[in-house]
């Protein structure tokens, strides 16, 4: 009877010891887990940054070439004196198609002298042209307005017959590069 009791107590002590050991191990593990988790997350993040760097750096040469190509293409078309350049081209255009420029009116809503800015960072100047000429010649002039050395958007066209001839009213938008700050 006494031996049974003794062995039961010892079994109980050993079970308690095992439970205590598991509890201690768990305590150590779970107390460190937030730190380990944070470190693992950081490690994964830096690995992602490094991998994306590798991808970007492998394509940067192609991107630079593409950017330089666009820069060269648009350096002339988006230069600061776009208005003067457009007027010179317009003069050649109307001479070629035997039409007359009756008036040009610029809309400048900002203090810096342009009408607004596009979402691509280009400034635009809005001009309204009034041209006079024969129907066919006016249409040829209008068709050539947007194909010159500037980026020109022909917004609309109104043709009106008057005593002095056929008059076209053409609102256009000229784009120029915003100067670097």
């Amino acid at each position: 009877m006494s031996d049974d009791l003794s062995s039961s107590v010892i079994r109980m002590i050993r079970a308690s010891a095992a439970a205590l050991a598991i509890a201690c191990a768990s305590l150590v593990y779970f107390s460190n887990e937030p730190k380990v988790s944070a470190l693992s997350t950081r490690l994964a993040e830096t690995s992602t940054v490094l991998r994306s760097d590798d991808i970007i750096f492998s394509t940067i040469g192609r991107l630079r070439a593409q950017r330089d190509f666009f820069r060269r293409r648009y350096a002339r078309m988006l230069r600061r004196d776009v208005e003067g350049s457009f007027l010179r081209d317009l003069d050649a255009n109307v001479r070629r198609h035997k039409t007359d420029v009756i008036s040009t009116t610029a809309q400048r809503d900002t203090a810096e002298g342009f009408a607004g800015t596009t979402d691509t960072g280009l400034r635009h100047i809005d001009l309204t042209l009034e041209l006079r000429g024969r129907y066919r010649n006016l249409l040829s002039t209008i068709a050539n307005l947007s194909t010159g050395n500037q980026i020109v958007d022909v917004l609309s066209v109104s043709l009106r017959r008057t005593d002095s001839g056929l008059i076209a009213r053409v609102p256009i938008r000229l784009f120029e590069e915003e100067p670097a700050r």
Binding site: L43, L50, A143
Partner: protein, 185 residues
């Protein structure tokens, strides 16, 4: 004659704070505590090693990230600038055809107008065009409307008004709205 004491040995006891414990139980309890401490120590050491190893890896990678930061910023600037130019290029292609597109639309309308109808104005509006003109008869205006309705870019030609009550009795003025096809707008 051999004499043997067959009685069980009396149990050794330990006394703590006036309480008496069987020494065998005490040994078991101490061993249990020792085992727990050992397990906790091994666990702690392994965890510390793991953390130190991770911290080392993180520090090494962060150094690599920092070393590339200038190059990365430069690459980002190039990528953003290229993307901006690509958008400008797309827009520019549309703009460069805008003058020709409108001229062609007006020409298509003008070419359909019969010779006995005279157009005074063609105004480009948000939804298409508004035209004004005059003709020798209402029938001629009807023919003009039918002809304009056949222009490929025009979805609908709506007559707004005809005014035949004018000083010159042999002409009728008219106004019409021409709705452009959605893909033209």
């Amino acid at each position: 004659m051999i004499r043997a004491n067959l009685l069980p040995r009396p149990k050794e006891t330990l006394s703590f704070f006036g309480l008496r414990f069987d020494s065998e139980y005490a040994r078991e309890a101490v061993a249990a505590l020792g085992l727990s401490v050992l397990v906790a120590s091994i666990g702690f050491s392994l965890e510390t090693l793991r953390i130190v190893h991770l911290e080392g890896d993180v520090a090494e990678q962060e150094r690599a990230v920092d070393v590339r930061s200038i190059e990365r910023e430069a690459a980002k600037a190039v990528a953003l600038e290229t993307a901006r130019y690509e958008r400008i290029d797309r827009d520019a292609h549309i703009y460069r055809s805008s003058g020709n597109a409108i001229a062609v639309q007006i020409a298509r309308i003008g070419n359909r107008i019969p010779s006995d109808v005279r157009l005074d104005t063609i105004e480009h509006a948000e939804t298409g065009f508004t035209i004004n003109g005059d003709a020798r008869s209402i029938a001629a205006i009807g023919n003009a409307m039918t002809a304009i309705a056949g222009v490929p870019d025009i979805r609908r030609a709506d007559l707004v008004s005809i005014d035949a009550d004018r000083s010159s009795a042999d002409s009728a003025a008219f106004t019409a709205n021409l709705l452009s096809s959605p893909e033209v707008l």
